[in-house]
C-alpha cells in the first residue's frame, strides 16, 4: 500500500513538474501569462503530424515572447500553451478539451491535429463558449454546424484539388482544345475528408462541363489499387485525381509506374506525408505529379512576427533542423491569429477575443486570413506543387507562384 501511494506521489509530482515546464517557459516577474490550451496527438497514428503541430505552436509562442509579448493596456503579457496528449483518439481529445476548460481554466483553445479530432473537440469548446483557432481541421463538415467559436486558418477540404481542374482547363485552352472534351477520373477514399475533396471537384467538373468517366471510392483499408488503375488504363482520362491520405498517395505513385499507366496530368493529396520524392522508396516515379498543399516555403506571403514565408522557413529550420511542413506553418499561423485578436481586443476575455476574431483581417507568412461567417479562412487559396527533378515546384494558382507546369507529365 505504502509503496503504491509513494509511487503515486512521485508520479503526480513528476506530472505536475512536466506540466509546469510545458506551460511556463522562463517568464520575467512583472509580466503575466496568457495560457492557451491544446490537446494534441503526441502518440498514436497521427503522432508525426501532431508533433509538427506542436512545434508550429511552440515556435510562434517563442517568437512572440522574444519580441516582447502582447501589450494590453500598457501591461506586458507573455503567452504559453498547455498541452495534453490525445493519443490520436477523438474520445480522448474531447475528454481532454473538457479538462483543459473546466479544471485548468483555459479560456482560449488552439486546435488539435486532424479533422476527426477537431470534430470531437469543437462541440466542447462550443458548449463552454470558448473560442478555438485551429490550423489542422480542414473538413467542410466542421463549418456546417453553425459553430460560433471555431476559426480555421487553413483552406477547407473541398478546395484541396479544385485548382488542378482549373489548371487542366487552362492547359486545354492553351492547346486549342475544347475543355468540354476533357475526361476526368477520380479515385477518392471513402472517408469524410476525401469525400469532401470529391464534392469540391464534382462541383467544378460540372461548372466547366468536363466528363467524369471514373468515380471510384477507395475503401479505407485498401492495400492495392490495381483494379482502379486498370480502369484508368482502359479509359485513358486526361486527368487523374487521387485523395487517400498517405496510403493512397504512396500506392498510386508506386502502382502507376509498375503498371505503366499513362495519364498526362496526375494530381494527388498527401505527397509530403507519403514521402513520394524519396527515391529509396519510390525511385523517381513521382516525377511530374501535382501535389496539393496548404502552404509552401516559396510562397510570396509576408506578415508581422516572422516576415516572409522563406524567413519563417529559415527560423523553423534553425530551431528544429528540418523544413517546416505545412502542418507546422498553419499551426504557427493559428497562434498568430490569437495574438492579433487579443491585441485588438485589448483583453484575453473569451467574448472580447471572439468579437475580435470575427473581424480578423491579417497578413501572415502563411497567407492572408479573413474568416467567413462560419469560421473558415476565405482569403487563402490552396496551392499545387509539381514534382520536378525531385523538388516541389509551386505551379498554381498563378498569382502567387512563378513555376511552370511540365505537361504532359514525364513518361505519359
Amino acid at each position: 500500500m505504502s509503496v503504491i501511494s509513494k509511487s503515486l506521489t512521485v508520479f503526480a509530482a513528476g506530472a505536475t513538474a512536466a506540466a509546469l515546464m510545458a506551460s511556463a517557459p522562463a517568464i520575467a516577474q512583472d509580466t503575466e501569462t496568457i495560457v492557451l490550451g491544446a490537446a494534441l496527438s503526441i502518440t498514436g497514428k497521427y503522432a508525426t503530424a501532431g508533433i509538427h503541430t506542436q512545434k508550429g505552436y511552440d515556435l510562434a509562442v517563442k517568437r512572440v515572447n522574444e519580441m516582447g509579448g502582447i501589450m494590453i493596456g500598457g501591461k506586458k503579457f507573455m503567452i504559453a500553451v498547455k498541452y495534453y496528449d490525445d493519443e490520436s483518439t477523438p474520445a480522448r481529445g474531447a475528454q481532454l478539451a473538457e479538462r483543459l476548460i473546466v479544471q485548468d481554466g483555459i479560456k482560449l483553445m488552439l486546435g488539435p491535429y486532424s479533422s476527426g479530432l477537431t470534430k470531437a473537440i469543437a462541440p466542447i469548446t462550443e458548449k463552454h463558449n470558448i473560442p478555438m483557432v485551429e490550423g489542422n481541421g480542414a473538413s467542410r463538415s466542421l463549418f456546417t454546424q453553425g459553430y460560433k467559436n471555431l476559426f480555421a486558418v487553413l483552406s477547407t477540404s473541398e478546395q484541396y484539388l479544385t485548382e488542378a481542374i482549373a489548371l487542366a482547363v487552362k492547359q486545354a485552352i492553351k492547346e486549342g482544345r475544347d475543355p468540354k472534351t476533357l475526361k476526368v477520373a477520380l479515385a477518392m477514399e471513402n472517408d469524410p475528408f476525401s469525400q469532401d475533396v470529391r464534392l469540391g471537384l464534382v462541383e467544378d467538373i460540372k461548372k466547366f462541363g468536363l466528363n467524369l468517366i471514373i468515380d471510384d471510392k477507395l475503401p479505407p483499408d485498401l492495400s492495392d489499387m490495381s483494379a482502379t488503375l486498370n480502369k484508368v488504363r482502359a479509359l485513358k482520362p486526361d486527368i487523374l485525381l487521387v485523395s487517400g491520405h498517405s496510403k493512397g498517395a504512396a500506392l498510386v505513385t508506386r502502382q502507376m509506374a509498375e503498371m505503366r499507366v499513362k495519364v498526362p496530368m496526375l494530381a494527388i493529396t498527401h505527397c509530403e506525408s507519403a514521402k513520394v520524392t524519396d527515391t529509396k522508396k519510390f525511385g523517381n516515379n513521382a516525377e511530374g505529379t501535382l501535389c496539393a498543399a496548404q502552404w509552401a516555403p516559396s510562397m510570396a506571403y509576408e506578415g508581422e512576427w516572422f516576415g516572409t514565408a522563406a524567413e519563417y522557413t529559415a527560423t523553423f529550420e534553425a530551431e528544429y533542423g528540418y523544413v517546416p511542413p505545412y502542418q507546422a506553418a498553419e499551426s504557427t499561423a493559428a497562434v498568430l491569429v490569437f495574438v492579433d485578436a487579443i491585441r485588438r481586443a485589448q483583453s484575453a476575455d473569451p467574448d472580447k477575443v471572439r468579437a475580435a476574431l470575427v473581424a480578423t483581417d491579417l497578413n501572415t507568412f502563411y497567407g492572408d486570413i479573413r474568416f467567413s461567417s462560419v469560421g473558415n479562412n476565405v482569403a487563402k487559396p490552396m496551392i499545387l506543387r509539381q514534382i520536378q527533378n525531385g523538388k516541389y515546384v509551386p505551379v498554381a494558382p498563378s498569382q502567387f507562384v512563378d513555376g511552370e507546369m511540365i505537361f504532359p507529365r514525364p513518361g505519359s
Binding site: 497514428k45 503522432a47 508525426t48 471510384d216 471510392k217 475503401p219 483494379a227 486498370n230 503498371m259
Partner: protein, 299 residues
C-alpha cells in the same frame, strides 16, 4: 454495367485483371500457409497473422536501411521473424496452446494490438515502401504486363509450398509436427517434445509471414495498422482451402486475388473489400449447408 462492357471489348484487360489478382494472391497464399499450419497443429487461430506479415516488411525496411540490397533481405526477413515468433511463443502462446480456441483468439488479438502500437512507436505512423530495383515486363505492345517482383512472389510461394510439404513429410521435426497435430498426448507418450514442436510451428509461421511481408513492402505499401487486411485474407483462404492441404491453399489464394480484382473493377473499388467479407459469409454458410446435407445423408 459499363465496366463489364469494357471487359468484353478488351479481353486482354480481363486477362490482366486475373493475372494481377493471381500475383497478389501468391503473397496472400504465404500468409495462409502459416495460418493453416498453426491452426492445424496447435488449434490456434492466429489473429496476429497480419502483424507478422507487416513486421516482415519492416524487417526488410530496416535491413535495407543498413545498406543490404532489398532482394537479399528476402531470405533474411524470415530469419528475423522466426526469432520473433519463437520469442512470442515462449512469452505468451505456450500458456494458451492447450486451452480452448476462445482463449487463444483473445491472446493473439492482444498480441496483434500490442505489435501494432509497438511498430507505431518505433517506425511512426507513416506509410513505408522499399524499391526492389526490379522492373515490369510488358508483352504484346503493352497489352499485358508482368511485374518481376510479383513473378518472384509466385516462385517463392511454390518453393515454400514444396519446401513445407517436403519438410513435413520427410524430416524428423516434420514428422513430429504431424504426429502432434494428430494427437498431442499420444505424441508426447511416444517421446515427442510437443513444446518444441509448438514453438517451431509458431516460429515457422512467423518466418513464412516474414517472407510475405518482405514481398509486400516491395510491391505495395505497409503501415503499422495495415496488418488486418492480411489476417482477414489468410483466414478466408484457410476457410476455403481447409487445414493441411497446401495445393488447395495456393488455388484458393489465387482465386481470391483474382475475384477481388474483378469485383473492384466491375463493382467499383468501394466494394472490393466488402466483396471479400461478403464472400467469407457466403462460403461459411455454404460450407455449413453442405456439411449439413452430408450428415443427413449419413443418417
Amino acid at each position: 454495367m459499363d465496366n463489364i462492357q469494357i471487359l468484353i471489348d478488351a479481353p486482354s484487360l480481363a486477362l490482366q485483371l486475373a493475372i494481377d489478382g493471381i500475383l497478389i494472391g501468391a503473397i496472400l497464399a504465404l500468409a495462409a500457409f502459416g495460418m493453416a499450419l498453426v491452426w492445424g497443429v496447435m488449434n490456434i487461430i492466429n489473429i496476429a497473422q497480419g502483424e507478422f506479415v507487416i513486421m516482415g516488411g519492416y524487417a526488410t525496411l530496416t535491413l535495407t536501411g543498413l545498406g543490404i540490397p532489398p532482394l537479399l533481405t528476402l531470405p533474411l526477413a524470415p530469419v528475423v521473424m522466426f526469432v520473433v515468433g519463437w520469442i512470442i511463443y515462449r512469452i505468451v502462446i505456450f500458456r494458451v496452446v492447450d486451452r480452448d480456441l476462445f482463449i487463444s483468439i483473445l491472446a493473439t488479438f492482444g498480441i496483434s494490438i500490442l505489435l501494432q502500437q509497438l511498430i507505431n512507436q518505433i517506425y511512426g505512423p507513416d506509410i513505408q515502401a522499399v524499391q526492389s530495383g526490379l522492373t515490369t515486363r510488358f508483352f504484346f505492345d503493352d497489352a499485358l504486363r508482368l511485374p518481376e517482383i510479383r513473378m518472384l512472389a509466385v516462385g517463392i510461394v511454390i518453393v515454400f509450398g514444396l519446401g513445407l510439404a517436403v519438410f513435413l513429410k520427410s524430416t524428423r521435426m516434420g514428422r513430429a509436427i504431424r504426429a502432434t497435430s494428430q494427437n498431442p498426448r499420444a505424441a508426447r507418450i511416444m517421446g515427442v517434445d510437443t513444446d518444441k514442436v509448438y514453438a517451431t510451428t509458431y516460429a515457422l509461421n512467423a518466418a513464412i509471414c516474414g517472407a510475405a511481408g518482405s514481398l509486400i513492402v516491395m510491391t505495395l505499401v505497409i503501415g503499422p495498422f495495415s496488418g488486418i487486411v492480411y489476417t482477414v485474407r489468410s483466414f478466408l483462404i484457410v476457410i476455403v482451402a481447409g487445414l493441411g492441404n497446401i495445393p488447395a491453399v495456393i488455388v484458393a489464394a489465387f482465386g481470391l486475388g483474382a475475384a477481388e480484382n474483378y469485383a473492384g473493377f466491375i463493382l467499383g473499388a468501394e466494394f472490393q473489400v466488402a466483396f471479400v467479407f461478403g464472400l467469407l459469409v457466403v462460403i461459411i454458410v455454404g460450407r455449413n449447408l453442405l456439411l449439413g446435407r452430408q450428415r443427413k445423408y449419413l443418417k
